[in-house]
């Protein structure tokens, strides 16, 4: 039995590795790596972005210019920030910092989003990292104007260069 060979009672046999054994190990681990890479390739070829439901952001109209409001999108456990930057201009980002998921909020200067945990700063315009440890920009919530209301229609993770 293989396990009896591998975990032999005899001290010398336990340490002994035959050339054939080593070859088998190399071939099997290489095959495993190949299979894993093929799986990743297949997944990326067939992967489709999930379509998120559109949801109205309630109370966008009452927000003053420069004001901030928390809403949930796409699920009830995904807090997002809605910011009114001008009379007709809104932006929305996920509130979870991309570093360790602390809640971000607008910095006192009103021009950046700040994560207080490790002093990470994100740009208000596009959510890119300005300073600190966050590795990725904040996911941006795509907004659309429909029937006079403001609707969240999707999430741009912001990780792809485009």
């Amino acid at each position: 039995m293989l396990w009896k060979e591998e975990f032999s009672v005899h001290a010398a046999e336990e340490r002994y590795v035959t050339r054939r054994q080593f070859g088998k190990f190399l071939v099997l681990t290489s095959l495993g790596m190949l299979a894993g890479n093929l799986w990743i390739l297949a997944r990326s070829l067939w992967h489709r972005e999930p379509r998120l439901p559109a949801r109205q952001v309630v109370g966008a109209g009452e927000l003053p210019v420069g004001g901030v409001r928390v809403f949930r999108y796409p699920g009830p456990n995904d807090p997002c920030l809605l910011l009114r930057t001008a009379e007709e201009s809104y932006v929305a980002y996920s509130q979870k910092c991309t570093h360790l998921s602390c809640a971000v909020y607008p910095a006192t200067d009103g021009k950046r989003l700040e994560c207080p945990c490790h002093e990470g700063y994100f740009s208000l315009e596009d959510g890119r990292v300005l300073q600190g440890p966050p590795p990725r920009p904040l996911p941006r919530i795509l907004l659309e104007r429909r029937d006079g209301g403001l609707w969240a229609v999707g999430v741009d993770p912001g990780t792809r260069e485009s």
Binding site: V9, H10, A11, E14
Partner: protein
């Protein structure tokens, strides 16, 4: 010490406990004696039997070890458990047909007779065999013991259906090929 073997002769044991104390002085397990000096039937007789590890060819203790901690070296000596691996589960204590391994509760490790590996591996006799006054424990060349003693050495033991061959020899009455041990029978005897 090529050709030297370990011989145990219970009929010569006088119960002086020299081996027990000599064993405790060994460098590798200071203060802990690995010898089992058993009284056969203390009420009726003073007979004692010294038991060292028999160093089985196919050691049951090592076979049952779940942590792979008991190893047999090329010279046929079954070593004490490896400290980084032993989990003190007592599997070996229960499995050994001779009842040799001891689990030390302090260091949480199984320790047993390793035939004084630090001594025998460099050509010296084990501690117990050097002090035994009646040579019930003897570490001598095989031809010498055949010449000097009436009893014949055997290293085949039968425990029911299990046949165990060992590196250490037991001196048996002449004409006895193997030593059969019927544990249940002995238990029955003691009750009666």
């Amino acid at each position: 010490m090529y050709g030297y073997e370990f011989f145990v002769d219970p009929s010569r044991c006088i119960g002086c406990e020299s081996c027990v104390n000599a064993c405790a002085e060994c460098e590798t397990h200071r203060g802990q004696s690995m010898i089992h000096l058993d009284f056969i039937d203390r009420r009726r007789t003073t007979a004692t039997v010294p038991f060292v590890c028999m160093h089985c060819d196919d050691p049951t203790c090592a076979q049952v070890c779940p942590a792979d901690a008991i190893k047999k070296t090329e010279d046929g000596v079954v070593q004490s458990s490896l400290k980084p691996r032993c989990i003190a589960c007592s599997n070996c204590v229960l499995a050994c047909p001779f009842g040799i391994p001891k689990v030390m509760l302090g260091p949480e490790q199984m320790m047993k007779c390793d035939m004084c590996y630090d001594r025998t591996s460099e050509g010296r006799r084990p501690m117990c065999a050097t002090v035994c006054p009646s040579q019930a424990l003897a570490y001598v060349p095989a031809d010498q013991i055949r010449r000097e003693r009436r009893e014949r050495p055997t290293n085949v033991f039968r425990f029911g259906n299990q046949r165990v061959t060992t590196r250490v020899f037991m001196m048996a009455p002449p004409g006895r090929e193997a030593v059969s041990v019927d544990v249940v029978d002995y238990m029955w005897d003691q009750e009666g």
